[in-house]
Amino acid sequence: MENTQTERKELVSAAIRFAGDSGDGMQVTGARFTHESARLGNDLATRPDFPAEIRAPAGTIGGVSAFQIHFGSTEVFTAGDDLDALIAMNPAALKANVKDLKQNGILICNTDSFTEKNLIKAHLEENPLDQDAISTKYNLISVPITTLTHEALSELELPKSAIERCKNFFALGIICWMYGRGVKETSEWVERKFKSKPEIAKANKLALEGGMAFAEASEAFSTVFEVPKAKLAQGTYKNITGNQGLAHGLIAASVKAGVPLVYAGYPITPASDILHEISRYKNFGVTTFQAEDEIAACCAAIGASYAGGLGVTGSSGPGILLKQEALALAAVVELPLVVVNVQRAGPSTGMPTKTEQADLLQSLYGRNSDCPVVVLAIASPDDSFDTSYLAAKIALEHMVPVILLSDGYVGNGSQPWLIPDESSLSEISPKFAQTDSAEAFQPYQRDEETLARAWSIPGMKGLEHRVGGLEKQDITGNISYDPDNHQRMTYLRAEKVKRVANTYPKTEVSGADSGELLVVSWGGTHGAVAGAVAEEQKAGRSVSHLHLRYINPLPNDLEQVLSRFKKILVPELNSGQLSLILNAHFDLNLTAYNKVQGQPFKISEIQQQIQNLIR
């Protein structure tokens, strides 16, 4: 049965998407393919697309779940613009996803599921597989995946439903063959996962191997696409989502600082996974607190910091609003606090499963009165560890609340992450008050350099003092309504935040230091902008890229860097929030490029903007 005409074709990268019903196991399938690709040495980025409904009726558009992976032999910046291949397990999955498939892209459909009933559920009047629109535009490969899975598992005595639950692995087998990767890792994973259910383990392995064998033998699959390994830095890697990396970063900071982590949250998409993740690591002395609401979560985190812990709370936009009053309290009592915002599309409930970066102004100005806090933004899943570690370090060393911005795209997306050596992590040294000082304790005495007050913790003898939201007298911390004191304290709090910028590294741009155009990005748009700028640089355009991790305070050398470019382009997934800030601070020839569709940027969209601005 060997297909003798197999052709081998090398690709620099490929973007593929597994799409099916929520019950079809698309996330697991994607995750396993990701792992096989990572083990082969590809660079990659992934992006899950969860259905908006929890248990939408099977076969409907609302129930479609998808997983996209972009893997390559050179640096992979995003989960990919347009798809090279789409695997559609049912008509609804086809309908919802086919628009992202490139012309002549490979379209693999499970024909068994294109029944009249499923077509109706997907609101399709005709079977798209019979329509020219599909078969001429795409490289359609129809495979009766369900039937073939039954055949592959015929030796097993399993109920029909259990067999059909293996069809995703049959599909995975096909795709692994198609892209020249093995299924060894996945087989081992199946063994581990179904250790107590050997029958099920066997079924999944048979399906996987069946899929491979089928593709190899079938005339329809005549090409193996090879995507060679990428040149990655040496070291040990693992695939990590933004939310996991963030959780790891916080735990690492707590261990390094010798201060117990208390993470308080209230469930909300897409931030809940941070709570789930951290709650697994109790043996690191971390505590998680599922509070009665977001206000309580923020207050509990402040209480934890007051008592000598690293208080962290996390949520998404609507929950962050609820935390703002408490956040202002933390700013006035000058305690460490990290507030994580995994942004989602709003306003109000908005589109909870879709991404956006529109809470920048909320972070900067969402509190009453003059109340600056430090704001950092995570660039990508593989940056989430470093930036969350840094957020905790700043909060602890500067006695200041830090808002850490992530977003749904970063939080749920994954990338290979180069695991740092423990010893390479920077020290975290909170400054505690001295219990044996001869002088009377002054709770608002400040460090000369950072302006941080010393951390005095209940239980420390001789340091009994009162804090609270009422304005403080400078140095003593007693209540004060003195007009000059209020102005002084307002400026001191602001100056303390501002001085955090003195700890930043030099601002770097990728590309030339000066030129026609600088594209400035922040947060989760990093990948798309980096990818677009790299392409345009290759095409010979005078364009560089600056990515801002530090949103507040802005870097001290930012103005210098910006001033060396004739034009500035600021692409954002909001209606122009960073643009507003940059225009307010600096005199720039700035073009804003804004997208608010709940979807990340495509690299090609940014390229188009660059081309519009420079020849």
Binding site: L232, E292, P458, K461, R466
Partner: protein
């Protein structure tokens, strides 16, 4: 080990000028607490006084301990965070009827059901003091205030019944004007493991003067209050001549003299049903129950959380950072 220097009331007084209105009930509560604390023999630095916002919530500033004047209604949540990091601290949560039962009602309920180990002193003056006299969730129907010139129309909440419903493990009632009764309650509250909830009647002489005088003044106190004691009959009256008995499911007042004395209920602070009956006694038909109305033993949240962490460490071994970083499916690039 800390040297046992006997602390005095003075040790608990801060250098800050007390700013309540002259004649405010808050003064006597402050003095009673300051006089009581030395008896606990707990070093000053281990006491933390945490409050919300309101006249009552200024309390921490006057205590020479650690103190945190937080935001309106949220002290329970903040205090929970404190106890999660250091369950050994002795936390006093100071709140008002508006603070605990209106804006902070949600946190109050969850504090009680979790049974965080701390003591709540709710200063109930049945009015919003700090905002200058609007009706509160404990104001009686028909209350005329600045915000209700025609009288309030909404039913008040009974803090004790609410606490019972929220599964509080210690519920007591005391009055600012009865230092002895308040001290007795504080002693038991401090000894209780879990959330000890104490409602304190407190007169706001500026905006709600005389709110409790009908049953709180010395002259009428014995007649109109029922001081409960565990294991003792529920009797009251200037002559101790009346008691509480049951008529079916309903409470009734009987005389100790005319042969119905054996019907009088014996108080059992561990009985939730009895506590519910007491909570239902409404003045002036019935006397106002005072003292420790309910108590049960249940594991405290902060203890349980800390134990879980300790168990995880024991079972999985103390977490090592390199193990965490290298957990999951890893691969090496050479």
């Amino acid at each position: 080990m800390s040297e046992l220097v006997k602390l005095t009331k003075k040790d608990f007084e801060s250098d800050q000028e007390v700013r309540w209105c002259p004649g405010c009930g808050d003064y006597s509560i402050l003095a009673t607490v300051q006089r009581f604390l030395p008896s606990l023999d707990i070093p000053k630095e281990n006491h933390v006084v945490i409050s919300g916002i309101g006249c009552s919530s200024r309390f921490p500033y006057y205590m020479n301990t650690y103190g945190f004047h937080t935001i309106h209604g949220r002290a329970p949540a903040l205090a929970t965070g404190v106890k999660l990091v250091n369950p050994d601290l002795h936390v006093w949560l100071i709140t008002g009827d508006g603070d605990a039962l209106s804006i902070g009602g949600n946190h109050f309920i969850h504090l009680l059901r979790r049974n965080v180990d701390l003591t709540v002193l709710l200063f109930n003056n049945r009015i919003y003091g700090l905002t200058k006299g609007q009706y509160s969730p404990t104001s009686e129907v028909g209350k005329k205030t600045k915000s209700t010139p025609y009288g309030s129309v909404d039913e008040p909440v009974d803090p004790v019944s609410l606490a019972l419903g929220a599964k509080a493990t210690f519920i007591a009632r005391a009055s600012a004007v009865d230092a002895k009764g308040l001290t007795a309650v504080l002693e038991q509250a401090a000894a209780h493991k879990g959330t000890s909830f104490v409602e304190i009647f407190q007169n706001c002489n500026v905006f709600n003067d005389g709110a409790f005088k009908d049953f709180d003044e010395r002259a009428v106190r014995n007649e109109r209050q029922l001081h409960v004691e565990h294991g003792k009959p529920l009797i009251f009256g200037a002559e101790l001549d009346k008691g509480i008995a049951l008529d079916g499911f309903n409470p009734k007042i009987v005389s100790t003299k005319n042969g119905s004395a054996d019907q009088i209920l014996t108080y059992d602070k561990n009985s939730k049903i009895l506590a519910q009956i007491l909570a239902s006694l409404s003045f002036p038909e019935f006397p106002v129950p005072m003292g420790v109305l309910y108590q049960e033993e249940r594991s405290a949240y902060d203890t349980a959380v800390t134990e879980q962490v300790a168990q995880a460490k024991q079972r999985q071994g103390e977490g090592k950072l390199s193990d965490l970083l290298n957990s999951g499916d890893t691969w090496t690039v050479n």
